[in-house]
Symmetry: C2
Subunit: 70 residues, 2 copies
DNA sequence: CTAAAAATCACATTATAATGTTAGTTCGTG
DNA sequence: CACGAACTAACATTATAATGTGATTTTTAG
Protein backbone atom coordinates (compact mmCIF):
# COMPACT_ATOMS: atom_id res chain seq x y z
CA UNK A 1 0.00 0.00 0.00
CA UNK A 2 1.45 3.30 -1.15
CA UNK A 3 1.26 6.54 0.79
CA UNK A 4 -1.47 7.82 -1.46
CA UNK A 5 -3.55 4.70 -0.94
CA UNK A 6 -3.54 5.20 2.80
CA UNK A 7 -5.48 8.41 2.31
CA UNK A 8 -7.93 6.69 0.03
CA UNK A 9 -8.42 3.89 2.54
CA UNK A 10 -9.04 6.41 5.30
CA UNK A 11 -11.59 8.31 3.26
CA UNK A 12 -13.35 5.12 2.27
CA UNK A 13 -13.57 3.97 5.87
CA UNK A 14 -14.72 7.38 7.08
CA UNK A 15 -17.48 7.41 4.49
CA UNK A 16 -18.50 3.90 5.47
CA UNK A 17 -18.90 5.06 9.05
CA UNK A 18 -20.73 8.19 7.88
CA UNK A 19 -18.46 10.56 9.73
CA UNK A 20 -17.59 14.03 8.47
CA UNK A 21 -14.05 15.36 8.19
CA UNK A 22 -14.59 17.88 11.00
CA UNK A 23 -16.01 15.18 13.25
CA UNK A 24 -13.23 12.70 12.57
CA UNK A 25 -10.58 15.36 12.94
CA UNK A 26 -12.06 16.30 16.27
CA UNK A 27 -12.25 12.71 17.48
CA UNK A 28 -8.67 12.05 16.40
CA UNK A 29 -7.43 15.30 17.85
CA UNK A 30 -6.00 16.61 14.60
CA UNK A 31 -6.80 19.46 12.25
CA UNK A 32 -9.32 19.13 9.43
CA UNK A 33 -6.68 20.59 7.21
CA UNK A 34 -4.32 17.70 7.84
CA UNK A 35 -7.07 15.15 7.43
CA UNK A 36 -8.18 16.70 4.20
CA UNK A 37 -4.68 16.65 2.77
CA UNK A 38 -4.11 13.05 3.74
CA UNK A 39 -7.35 11.93 2.14
CA UNK A 40 -6.47 13.76 -1.05
CA UNK A 41 -3.00 12.29 -1.13
CA UNK A 42 -1.50 15.75 -0.83
CA UNK A 43 0.40 14.96 2.35
CA UNK A 44 3.16 12.75 3.61
CA UNK A 45 1.75 12.22 7.10
CA UNK A 46 3.65 11.02 10.13
CA UNK A 47 2.91 7.54 11.40
CA UNK A 48 1.53 9.01 14.59
CA UNK A 49 -1.04 11.04 12.71
CA UNK A 50 -2.15 8.08 10.64
CA UNK A 51 -2.40 6.05 13.80
CA UNK A 52 -4.63 8.60 15.53
CA UNK A 53 -6.99 8.52 12.59
CA UNK A 54 -6.85 4.75 12.27
CA UNK A 55 -7.65 4.36 15.94
CA UNK A 56 -10.88 6.32 15.62
CA UNK A 57 -11.87 4.49 12.46
CA UNK A 58 -11.18 1.06 13.90
CA UNK A 59 -8.35 0.49 11.47
CA UNK A 60 -5.04 -1.16 12.14
CA UNK A 61 -1.61 -0.40 10.70
CA UNK A 62 0.34 -3.47 9.70
CA UNK A 63 3.78 -4.09 8.27
CA UNK A 64 3.86 -7.50 6.68
CA UNK A 65 6.29 -9.47 4.60
CA UNK A 66 5.23 -9.19 0.98
CA UNK A 67 3.85 -12.24 -0.68
CA UNK A 68 5.65 -13.14 -3.85
CA UNK A 69 3.41 -12.71 -6.89
CA UNK A 70 4.24 -15.43 -9.34
CA UNK B 1 0.54 -1.94 15.36
CA UNK B 2 1.79 1.10 17.23
CA UNK B 3 4.40 3.51 15.92
CA UNK B 4 7.03 1.99 18.16
CA UNK B 5 6.28 -1.50 16.90
CA UNK B 6 6.92 -0.45 13.33
CA UNK B 7 10.52 0.26 14.27
CA UNK B 8 10.83 -3.08 15.97
CA UNK B 9 9.37 -4.85 12.95
CA UNK B 10 11.82 -3.07 10.68
CA UNK B 11 14.79 -3.99 12.83
CA UNK B 12 13.66 -7.59 13.05
CA UNK B 13 13.28 -7.84 9.30
CA UNK B 14 16.62 -6.13 8.68
CA UNK B 15 18.35 -8.57 11.00
CA UNK B 16 16.63 -11.48 9.28
CA UNK B 17 18.03 -10.30 5.96
CA UNK B 18 21.44 -9.71 7.57
CA UNK B 19 21.71 -6.13 6.39
CA UNK B 20 23.47 -3.41 8.36
CA UNK B 21 21.92 -0.05 9.15
CA UNK B 22 24.33 1.79 6.85
CA UNK B 23 23.58 -0.62 4.03
CA UNK B 24 19.81 -0.45 4.43
CA UNK B 25 19.89 3.31 4.79
CA UNK B 26 21.86 3.52 1.58
CA UNK B 27 19.53 1.19 -0.30
CA UNK B 28 16.48 3.10 0.93
CA UNK B 29 18.08 6.43 0.21
CA UNK B 30 17.74 7.73 3.75
CA UNK B 31 20.14 8.64 6.54
CA UNK B 32 21.42 6.09 9.01
CA UNK B 33 20.45 8.51 11.72
CA UNK B 34 16.80 8.39 10.71
CA UNK B 35 16.86 4.63 10.41
CA UNK B 36 18.47 4.26 13.78
CA UNK B 37 15.87 6.48 15.44
CA UNK B 38 12.99 4.64 13.84
CA UNK B 39 14.32 1.26 14.94
CA UNK B 40 14.75 2.53 18.48
CA UNK B 41 11.27 4.01 18.57
CA UNK B 42 12.73 7.47 19.01
CA UNK B 43 11.12 8.88 15.93
CA UNK B 44 7.71 9.58 14.49
CA UNK B 45 8.59 8.90 10.87
CA UNK B 46 6.65 9.99 7.83
CA UNK B 47 4.80 7.36 5.86
CA UNK B 48 7.07 7.98 2.92
CA UNK B 49 10.16 7.17 4.94
CA UNK B 50 8.64 3.97 6.30
CA UNK B 51 7.64 3.03 2.81
CA UNK B 52 11.14 3.48 1.43
CA UNK B 53 12.49 1.19 4.10
CA UNK B 54 9.67 -1.31 3.71
CA UNK B 55 10.26 -1.46 -0.01
CA UNK B 56 13.87 -2.50 0.42
CA UNK B 57 13.00 -5.04 3.09
CA UNK B 58 10.19 -6.57 1.07
CA UNK B 59 7.61 -5.42 3.57
CA UNK B 60 4.18 -4.03 2.86
CA UNK B 61 2.23 -1.37 4.70
CA UNK B 62 -1.41 -2.24 5.26
CA UNK B 63 -4.37 -0.48 6.82
CA UNK B 64 -6.97 -3.03 7.73
CA UNK B 65 -10.24 -3.01 9.59
CA UNK B 66 -9.59 -4.26 13.09
CA UNK B 67 -10.96 -7.62 14.03
CA UNK B 68 -13.12 -7.51 17.10
CA UNK B 69 -11.52 -9.38 19.99
CA UNK B 70 -14.30 -11.10 21.89
C1' DC C 1 43.41 -8.92 22.16
C1' DT C 2 43.06 -5.65 18.41
C1' DA C 3 41.31 -3.07 14.61
C1' DA C 4 37.43 -1.96 11.89
C1' DA C 5 32.71 -1.63 11.30
C1' DA C 6 28.34 -1.01 13.20
C1' DA C 7 25.30 0.89 16.41
C1' DT C 8 24.08 4.42 19.68
C1' DC C 9 23.73 9.12 20.91
C1' DA C 10 23.83 14.38 21.30
C1' DC C 11 23.43 18.45 18.98
C1' DA C 12 22.90 21.93 15.21
C1' DT C 13 20.81 22.81 10.77
C1' DT C 14 17.53 22.26 7.09
C1' DA C 15 13.40 20.61 5.19
C1' DT C 16 8.83 19.96 5.71
C1' DA C 17 4.74 18.25 8.30
C1' DA C 18 0.91 20.13 11.07
C1' DT C 19 -1.70 23.76 12.20
C1' DG C 20 -4.45 28.22 11.88
C1' DT C 21 -6.78 31.33 9.15
C1' DT C 22 -9.58 32.67 5.55
C1' DA C 23 -12.20 32.03 1.47
C1' DG C 24 -14.38 29.82 -2.53
C1' DT C 25 -16.98 25.71 -3.92
C1' DT C 26 -19.85 21.80 -3.44
C1' DC C 27 -23.33 19.11 -1.13
C1' DG C 28 -27.26 18.07 1.43
C1' DT C 29 -31.71 19.16 3.43
C1' DG C 30 -35.78 21.91 4.46
C1' DC D 1 -34.30 27.85 -4.41
C1' DA D 2 -31.72 28.92 -0.14
C1' DC D 3 -29.21 28.23 3.74
C1' DG D 4 -25.84 25.91 6.43
C1' DA D 5 -22.47 22.43 6.77
C1' DA D 6 -18.87 20.08 4.70
C1' DC D 7 -15.23 20.01 1.51
C1' DT D 8 -11.48 21.99 -1.05
C1' DA D 9 -7.85 25.15 -1.29
C1' DA D 10 -4.09 28.78 -0.73
C1' DC D 11 -1.07 30.85 2.28
C1' DA D 12 1.56 32.03 6.58
C1' DT D 13 3.26 30.30 10.90
C1' DT D 14 4.81 26.90 14.14
C1' DA D 15 6.31 22.46 15.35
C1' DT D 16 9.06 18.87 14.33
C1' DA D 17 10.88 15.30 11.12
C1' DA D 18 15.11 14.37 8.45
C1' DT D 19 19.63 15.14 7.85
C1' DG D 20 24.72 16.07 8.84
C1' DT D 21 28.43 15.86 11.89
C1' DG D 22 31.23 14.11 15.26
C1' DA D 23 31.90 11.38 19.33
C1' DT D 24 31.28 7.28 22.20
C1' DT D 25 30.08 2.57 22.90
C1' DT D 26 29.25 -1.99 21.20
C1' DT D 27 29.83 -5.66 18.10
C1' DT D 28 32.30 -8.45 14.97
C1' DA D 29 36.12 -10.38 12.29
C1' DG D 30 40.98 -11.51 12.16
Amino acid sequence: MLVRDVGIAIKKRRKALKITQPHLADLAGISVNSLYKIERGKANPTLDLVEKIAEVLGLEIKLEVKKITL
